[in-house]
Assembly symmetry: C2
């Protein structure tokens, strides 16, 4: 129904050509209208609309003028139909990546995706699957040619949809390292292992000798690789194993700190897999009578807003989520443009940000 009532009043919607005096009331101008008022052909208008290559400057400006006079705006559907592209990219949120909704970085990611895509005249379609059935449906949808490509963020191991996409034919770029699909898919990530190593080394350099860690979920590359970096940095000479797994949630940070403290009351250093967990871990530490950084020095990860607000302000690893997201879009655009291209992998730089907690 929507647009159909345009032709309601005077019984007409289209009036193919010129000559005609009174034009139908409210009809969205078409490329034809622009062509007519600019005095050129449809093709020329189309060329201008698509970059203006191979068009005389004067023609370009005439078209531009006509466009603004008429308030013309391209009809996506028509363009898509004719060009064979859909003009949109899916942001895939699978059943298993539902945790994204509570991830503090989600906002930043979606914001950057949206912005970058618009600059390339692409739309961001958010697709969610809330159970297995929907996930199958979503898989069909994505591979059925409804979108030009897909963006996947912060996957966990064994992501079913990823498996499907890896085999499929839709260009996909993953933000974060897709465990198990590193070779088949494109991704942009950071060197978690090295960053964690740097963080823990700071603690060691300060003379801390009983350094614990609260990891992220070990079914994510971030969780796993940061733990590896920690292990490499503490080496073999720790009195005991001071590792406990968290799930990114603040609550798990608190619980983890308590567990670690119970295991070794002498713990004097702590590396936490995310700022959010670190903040609660610090709260637990303080409640247990530890001064920070005097008794226990703490380093977080992400350099999120929580790091600055924390008490004391948190020393952490800065991670360029916005740049990474932009890079992911850049790669996806390339994959879409050049069908044959092979997967691209990009490692973004991180850096240690010193504040007062260590």
């Amino acid at each position: 129904m929507a647009l159909s009532d345009r032709s309601g009043l005077d019984g007409n919607g289209d009036r193919p050509d010129a000559g005609d005096a009174r034009l139908p009331a409210a009809r969205r101008p078409t490329i034809e209208d622009v062509a007519r008022t600019a005095g050129v052909s449809r093709s020329t208008v189309s060329r201008v609309l698509n970059g203006g290559r191979h068009v005389r400057p004067e023609a370009i400006s005439r078209v531009d003028r006509a466009v603004s006079v008429l308030g013309y705006s391209v009809n996506q559907a028509a363009r898509n139909l004719a060009s064979g592209r859909t003009g949109s990219v899916a942001f895939v949120i699978s059943e298993q990546s539902e945790h994204l909704f509570s991830d503090p970085n989600f906002g930043a990611i979606i914001r950057v995706f949206s912005r970058e895509l618009r600059q390339r005249d692409q739309h961001l379609l958010v697709t969610t699957a809330q159970d297995y059935g929907e996930e199958t449906f979503l898989g069909d949808y994505l591979t059925a040619g409804h979108v030009d490509g897909a963006l996947f963020a912060l996957p966990r191991e064994g992501e079913r949809l990823l498996d499907r996409l890896a085999r499929g034919s839709v260009p996909v770029v993953v933000l974060g390292r897709p465990l198990g699909y590193e070779h088949q898919l494109s991704w942009v990530a950071i060197d978690d292992e090295a960053a964690a190593f740097e963080a823990v080394s700071l603690l060691r350099d300060q003379g801390r000798s009983r350094i614990g860690t609260i990891t992220g979920p070990l079914n994510t590359s971030s969780g796993r690789h940061r733990l590896q970096g920690y292990r490499r940095a503490v080496g073999m000479n720790q009195p005991q194993d001071l590792v406990t797994e968290g799930d990114w949630s603040p609550a798990s940070g608190r619980a983890g700190a308590l567990r670690l403290l119970a295991g070794d009351p002498q713990m004097d250093g702590l590396f936490v897999g995310s700022d959010l967990m670190a903040r609660e871990a610090m709260a637990a530490l303080k409640e247990s009578g530890r001064r920070i950084p005097e008794d226990v020095a703490v380093v977080g990860f992400d350099d999120s807003a929580a790091a600055v607000q924390a008490d004391p302000p948190l020393t952490t690893i800065h991670q360029p989520f916005d740049l990474s997201a932009a890079e992911a879009v850049r790669i996806l655009t390339e994959l879409i443009a050049v069908p044959g291209s092979s997967p691209q992998h990009v490692i973004m730089p991180t850096r240690l940000v010193r504040r007062s907690s260590a």
Copy 2:
């Protein structure tokens, strides 16, 4: 790689039908293919695809079979072009509503929008505007017929985009009360004033006589109306004004509590505009030596995850964000279907959830 290599190896992926020997390699099956293999006309297939009205049952099943055999899936662009609808709805995030990205309810909202829309065969297009220029651009975009309708969440007063949409012709539904546009736009909200009244009444009924409040931003309807409910409940006989404005952020909850305490060390009750602020406010209260609820009873708002995790667990007002979002989509669908329809306003129910903080 993408779509092109389907024709790579043996040159085929789908095999539209019998009869014809070698068909063009990899081509998405069209409605025409379905018609041929089902032995009916395109029109009939189209009818089946769109609900199957006025089609003989047998024809329906033949078409269905052909569809699944061929793995047919409708080409949105073609459908949109022919039908005049776009098949997508925008989730508008204006420059001024960027706060959404850090709103803990954002995830829930987007998730429900996406799910409900899909059930109606509509897509969720996320549109963001990060500065004034982009906002103008977005306004043009939305009113240019690129989407069938728009969803707006948790607006603040003076939202420029809302102003534009209110005048425009695109169906719009707002989640939350759009201050200043209550009459022109459709919205679904809760009765903030009544809910706040109920919360504060609980405090009064417990004998608290010096009840303070940390409000949400007063340029939002939630902030403002909850304050009104608070005022009505405390009445005229409070010793002094115990009101301070927060901005939904945890930090502002802490700061607010401290300000209130400084103004009246005897404060024995506190109503906070959101759970997140309430949690930090409680932390500040405890650090200032108050026991909760003995010395100060606290009530929050939202019934978010933070309420349960808080220490002590927070008594709060439950707000059905998911149902509201679903309702918003329902209304939007209606507005899209019936162009002329006038704005709809829905108030969703809330309820007080008692835990230990009051």
